[in-house]
């Protein structure tokens, strides 16, 4: 993983909560809550979505690959659930990089923080994904 990642920013891009993809998400996650099943809102964690246009490949940003990296943790701060059909703007940056020496070798932890804002500029969801590059 590259060692000059900290602070690197991702070009802002728009994310639209498309109803068909959201439906797929609801099915895959065994969602049972009518609030979501009735389409009043989308589960906030559906914003995890490399399929959405513009979503960058986090592993490519971090200079690593499928072979070496896994997701170690995830965190969402939720101001409100996004609405189905709503378009949000995502701004991302590499918020943290830590290197840890282990008996098996060097492990790198990199956290990608993405903030999703609505048309008024208000923050809807902040996502932090930490990827671990194994030795």
């Amino acid at each position: 993983m590259r060692d000059d990642l900290l602070g690197q920013e991702i070009e802002p891009f728009e994310v639209t909560i498309e109803a068909p993809l959201n439906q797929y998400f609801l099915t895959a996650t065994e969602e049972t809550q009518p609030f979501y099943l009735e389409g009043k809102a989308a589960p906030p964690t559906c914003l995890f979505g490399p399929a959405r246009p513009g979503y960058p490949d986090p592993l490519a940003i971090m200079g690593t690959s499928f072979e070496k990296a896994v997701m170690g943790s995830a965190a969402y701060d939720i101001e409100r659930p996004p609405r189905v059909g709503e378009t949000l703007v995502c701004r991302g940056r590499v918020a943290d990089v830590k290197v840890k020496e282990t008996p098996k070798g060097t492990m790198t932890f990199a956290t990608l923080e993405a903030t999703f804002t609505d048309a008024s500029g208000a923050v809807v969801v902040t996502e932090r994904l930490t990827f671990i590059e194994r030795p």
Binding site: A28, T29, E30, A74, Y76, D77
Partner: protein, 135 residues
């Protein structure tokens, strides 16, 4: 109990009503990949997953995160969930049945904070996390 949702009673130490998800299926993992666009081959390619050290394909971390979020929504109401975190401690495999449990650790400022865990079988904790919800 449905902490906070049913009666407004939500006390430190209260146990959340658990939810159960699974058995996780290969088609479910594939559907989650399609919903999110995360086609990392550790989730979709059996041979690749085994090559990098997993016993089979594994579920996406954010699928587990969705289950944690659902447990909070089940107990507090889906529109009351303000934050969720997850640390992925062990790979989740096809066939796994998961129980999401939690405990209220703090009630302050109109919010409940919880510790969460995802348990496979009787006592195999495959993910831990925290949650925050309005009460």
């Amino acid at each position: 109990m449905n902490a906070g949702q049913s009666s407004g009673r939500c006390e430190q130490g209260a146990t959340l009503e658990p939810i159960t998800r699974g058995p996780i299926t290969r088609s479910q993992i594939a559907r989650f990949a399609a919903a999110t666009g995360d086609f990392n081959p550790i989730h979709t390619d059996e041979a690749f997953a085994q090559k990098v050290g997993f016993p089979s394909i594994i579920a996406h971390g954010p699928l587990t995160l969705a289950f944690l979020t659902q447990a909070l929504g089940h107990n507090f109401g889906p529109d009351k969930v303000k934050g969720v975190t997850a640390q992925f401690r062990a790979p989740i495999l096809p066939g796994d049945t998961l129980r999401v449990e939690g405990t209220v650790t703090e009630v302050a400022g109109g919010r409940a904070r919880c510790e969460l865990r995802v348990v496979r079988g009787d006592d195999d904790v495959v993910a831990t996390g925290t949650g925050t919800a309005e009460i």
